[in-house]
């Protein structure tokens, strides 16, 4: 028995044509009523319509880039959860409310110069970096098979605003979340989504926060469940690369020399060094001078002086060093789909050497690398 089909009209604003076609994503997410008269009309409303896909606790997920040639097994799992709010009384960095999330501050003349911080400023950095460490540790404790990266984002977001701080990634050049979670072949800038962590994954959690006028920045790569030997070696080597670079830091050392130590150690272990992304000055601005490449024979500008604060954050790949970016304009992945690991610290140059501002606290969870 044929039933009379319900007549729907096109959902596009200003269009009342009869509509028999539905948005497939809405269908998947069990969102009712998304009828459109034609693909053309649908395209016209797309910018507005896709925001309805952001649901809390969706029961299913979908790949937002079905035609993209992914380089590895990982897929984004949308919808992203709705944008998280930051209480109004928490001071916000300039890009939080700027068009396109651009930071005017970072674009001024002054940002091209390396800044030496005063003792007071350094003390503030110590405080905010310590907070960053606490938040990272909190997030790490939540890691287990079955947890989504979005859940990690929620935990980080809440731990950040609890400390009356602003999560630096949020809206930075329109990054949609409060933390970067980079799984397996993702090199950096992974966007937290509905994907559940799986046994054998490696995941990097990259924390940044803004408090009292200063940004902190740090990250670690963690094992989820039982990880294979190659991944263990990759992660351990990466951590060692970071350590070797840190130990070189002292006044008079050239920023361009750090890369040689990192690349040598990576190569000695059969791995490669990502070239596109570098360490950077951090402090009043999220990213400022100097630029700190991690590969050998680079031509980075500047020599270390006491008071400089910058990150070293080598990204080491199992296979080729080349990277590619997903269509979300953020997620950087290896071109061969093999895994990548990263570790990051914020380092202060002292009169005689260095101080790791984001170092582990007595309360930090035990390092997973200790037993390797």
């Amino acid at each position: 028995m044929t039933t009379v089909e319900q007549q729907h009209s096109c959902k596009s604003s200003g269009c009342d044509k009869p509509a028999a076609l539905q948005c497939p994503t809405c269908v998947k997410l069990a969102i009712k009523g998304s009828f459109f008269c034609s693909q053309e009309c649908f395209r016209g409303s797309w910018a507005e319509h896709k925001s309805t896909h952001q649901v809390s606790n969706p029961t299913t997920s979908y790949n937002p880039f079905p035609t993209y040639q992914f380089t590895g097994p990982l897929r984004p799992e949308y919808p992203l959860s709705p944008r998280r709010e930051v209480p109004a009384d928490i001071p916000r960095p300039d890009y939080a409310d700027a068009p396109g999330g651009a930071s005017k501050q970072e674009q001024t003349y002054g940002n091209a110069q390396i800044v030496a911080m005063s003792a007071d400023e350094i003390e503030k950095m110590r405080v905010v970096c310590r907070m960053g460490r606490e938040i990272l540790d909190t997030a790490a404790r939540a890691l287990r098979v079955g947890v989504t990266t979005d859940e990690i984002d929620r935990i980080v977001h809440e731990a950040t605003i609890e400390r009356k701080a602003y999560p630096s990634p949020l809206n930075y050049y329109q990054f949609p979340k409060s933390v970067c979670t980079s799984v397996n072949e993702v090199i950096c800038h992974g966007i937290p989504d509905q994907r559940k962590l799986q046994d054998g994954d490696i995941v990097n959690i990259d924390i940044s926060l803004y408090r009292d006028g200063f940004h902190a920045d740090l990250n670690k790569t963690y094992f989820v469940g039982n990880v294979d030997a190659k991944s263990k070696k990759l992660v351990k080597t990466t951590r060692e690369c970071l350590q070797k670079a840190i130990e070189m830091v002292k006044p008079g050392v050239l920023y361009r020399d750090l890369g040689s130590a990192i690349e040598k150690h990576a190569r000695d272990n059969g791995f490669s060094v990502v070239r596109t992304y570098s360490g950077h000055g951090v402090g009043k601005m999220f990213h400022s001078a100097p630029n700190v490449p991690h590969y050998a024979k680079n031509k980075a500008i500047g020599v270390m002086k006491p008071g400089h604060v910058f990150t070293i954050e080598p990204m080491i790949n199992e296979g080729s060093y080349n990277d590619q970016t997903w269509r979300d304009n953020w997620t950087a992945v290896t071109v061969d789909g093999k895994r990548s690991a990263q570790f990051e610290h914020a380092i202060l140059v002292t009169e005689t050497g260095y101080e790791v501002l984001t170092c582990r606290l007595p309360s930090s969870p035990k390092s997973q690398l200790k037993d390797l």
Partner: protein, 627 residues
């Protein structure tokens, strides 16, 4: 360490390998680099003096046609103070210009093999035989010439710069103490200074004077050069990017909010560059409001059966891809490192053929439209015939001319006028190679990019900090000269008209900003045309008429000015005196270096004498005909 012992061919081999590693490419079937000995023949043929200290030159392997691209040099391969490892301490110590470049080169040399520029630096000669390095006897041959005048100031400013270097070394023992390099050796410093003087040129507004590998191998020939350097000069002064960086937008906004001091408070210095910072900056995206959500792709609508509508499938695929990639601009699915490579290619210098070159001959670049004195002073050689020759007149002498012809008071008033309208009198590089007006430079570069321009200009040379220092006392003094074939420079000529006018005219012109700025260029135009006509052998009265269409000057006034001009030239000629200072030429066989210097000095004297003599002849005649 003793580079002198290594053969030229070994140096060349290492250099070529370094080029490859640093992505400097050249057309290997069109040109090759050879040892200077091989080019000695062609240098002799051009009747100039060869620069014995240059190691290499470039030779064509076949006929070279106009517009052929010969060499591509990424800007990243260039050595500049702004992009050097020491950039931040230069800023902190307020060291710039050629001194900063000198120190940068010395520093990289001190690192030996550990320097990213080792392959390039090891190929350089120890020094360039510029007058700065000449002994007392050689210098005596320059007595009375412009160069003779300049080098007496050079020594002082060099010593001053050396002092600044010592202070810097003392302040940063951790930076400079790492090797056995003798930072306190004045001779080493002077040698590097000579290399920088003779080889560096301005790359863009961020990097300023830089050492440009390969480009600096081409030797110079005046007015008959084969190649030009082409590069994007107007880069962001903050970070050195060719275009699209966010600093430019911020700068524009700052300009729009005139006087908004936020940006300025952050600090004026701009020597550091930010290359790949961790987050690729969103200078590309962020314009459309539709960007507020994450960029999911537009999927295809499905019917009630759950199937996508087939007939729309084909059409929409391509358009969809477009609309998605419009939103997400550069990064859709492409390798970031490919993008970086693209950016690098844009950020390059190219050597392009300007004037065809026969096969198997030396290929020449131009260092700019410079006269003999400038060339000898800065590069250590001069060409026999030089249409850009220029002989300096001291400001003192010029002012004295006003004092004598009119009054002491007038001379003072003219000085005031010059100071007040300083920008109009900024020296032209042709005059004597001192401070250049940056606007003029940019202007020249614009010319150079015009299709049928035959001006050089790509390689306008910025001035030495050292030469700046040497003119410290009269930094603000304009530079007056007699220019080849024998004319007062246009500023001088125009100034003389106004300055020698009667009181009524002079005060009217000098007191009103508007009037002066209106008339000065008009009078200059008169002189430009007048001089051109004289060069074409137009009889003086006719030349005057033709040039004076705007009615800018009176005959008598031009007559008066001409009198003063030839007297100034005569005075300058007297300073030059005769060639008795030269004495006997040193024997070429036993002392080629001294012989070469002697030849250069002789040539310079001769060229200066020629220019001045011609001036005297011309302007005596003009004075006679127009009085």
């Amino acid at each position: 360490m003793p580079d002198i012992n290594r053969s030229s061919s070994e140096k060349l081999r290492v250099l070529l390998q370094w080029f490859a590693e640093n992505k400097i490419t050249y057309n290997e079937e069109a040109i090759k680099i050879v040892d200077q000995q091989a080019t000695a023949l062609s240098s002799a043929a051009s009747k100039g003096t060869a620069v014995l200290s240059h190691g290499f030159g470039v030779v064509s392997l076949r006929k070279l046609e106009s517009d052929e691209q010969l060499v591509v040099i990424p800007k990243s391969a260039v050595i500049s103070a702004a992009t050097s490892a020491l950039a931040n301490i230069f800023i902190d110590a307020d060291i710039g210009g050629n001194l900063a470049l000198c120190i940068t080169v010395m520093y990289e040399k001190s690192l030996g093999h550990a320097s990213p520029w080792y392959g390039y630096l090891q190929s350089l000669p120890e020094c360039a035989d510029i007058p700065l390095l000449w002994d007392a006897q050689s210098r005596s041959w320059l007595k009375g010439t412009d160069v003779g005048e300049w080098i007496s100031r050079d020594e002082a400013s060099l010593l001053e710069d050396f002092g600044v270097l010592q202070d810097l070394v003392a302040e940063y023992p951790a930076v400079f103490g790492g090797s056995d390099f003798k930072w306190d050796c004045f001779e080493s410093f002077v040698k590097i200074a000579s290399l920088v003087s003779s080889r560096a040129f301005s790359v863009d507004v961020h990097r300023d004077n830089s050492m440009v590998p390969f480009a600096d191998i081409f030797n110079h020939r005046t007015a008959k050069e084969n190649v030009h350097i082409v590069c994007e000069e107007m880069v962001c002064p903050v970070c050195g990017e060719a275009f699209g960086c966010a600093h430019m937008d911020a700068l524009e906004e700052m300009d729009n909010h005139e006087g908004a001091s936020e940006g300025e408070d952050e600090g004026e210095d701009n020597s550091e560059s930010e290359e790949d910072s961790e987050y690729d900056e969103g200078d590309d995206s962020s314009d459309s409001e539709s960007e507020d959500e994450m960029g999911e792709e537009l999927p295809l609508l499905v019917n009630l059966m759950g199937n996508t509508v087939a007939d729309e499938l084909q059409q929409d695929d391509d358009v969809e891809m477009e609309s998605v990639s419009d939103e997400h601009s550069e990064h859709s699915g492409e390798s970031d490192s490919d993008d970086d490579q693209e950016d690098e290619l844009v950020d390059t210098l190219e050597m392009v053929v300007f004037r065809p070159c026969k096969a198997n001959t030396e290929v020449f670049n131009t260092y700019g439209e410079h006269g003999s004195a400038y060339l000898l002073h800065r590069y250590g050689f001069c060409d026999a015939k030089n249409p850009f020759d220029s002989v300096s007149l001291s400001t003192e002498n010029v002012m004295q001319a006003f004092a004598i012809s009119v009054s002491e008071q007038r001379a003072k008033d003219v000085s005031t006028v010059i100071r007040r309208f300083e920008d109009l009198f900024e020296s032209r590089h042709r005059a004597c190679g001192q401070d250049e007006d940056e606007e003029e430079e940019a202007h020249d570069h614009d010319h150079a990019h015009d299709e049928d321009s035959d001006e050089d200009g790509e390689e306008d040379n910025d001035e030495d900090e050292e030469q700046d220092n040497q003119a410290d006392d009269d930094e603000n003094a304009p530079r007056f000269s007699i220019d080849a074939p024998g004319h007062p420079d246009l500023n001088l000529a125009a100034l003389l008209v106004l300055g020698l006018a009667d009181e009524e005219v002079f005060s009217k012109a000098s007191q009103s900003e508007e009037i002066f700025r209106h008339y000065f260029p008009v009078i200059r135009r008169f002189w430009a045309m007048f001089q051109d006509e004289l060069d074409n052998d137009t009889p003086v009265p006719a030349a005057f008429r033709k040039a004076n269409q705007e009615g800018a000057v009176r005959k008598a006034s031009v007559g008066t000015v001409s009198n003063v001009v030839y007297r100034l030239a005569e005075a300058r000629l007297q300073l030059l005196a005769d060639d008795s200072v030269l004495g006997e030429k040193p024997a070429t066989d036993s002392d080629p270096l001294m012989a070469s210097r002697w030849e250069s000095a002789k040539l310079l004297r001769s060229n200066e004498r020629k220019t001045l003599s011609q001036c005297i002849k011309t302007y005596k005649k003009v004075a006679a005909k127009l009085s």
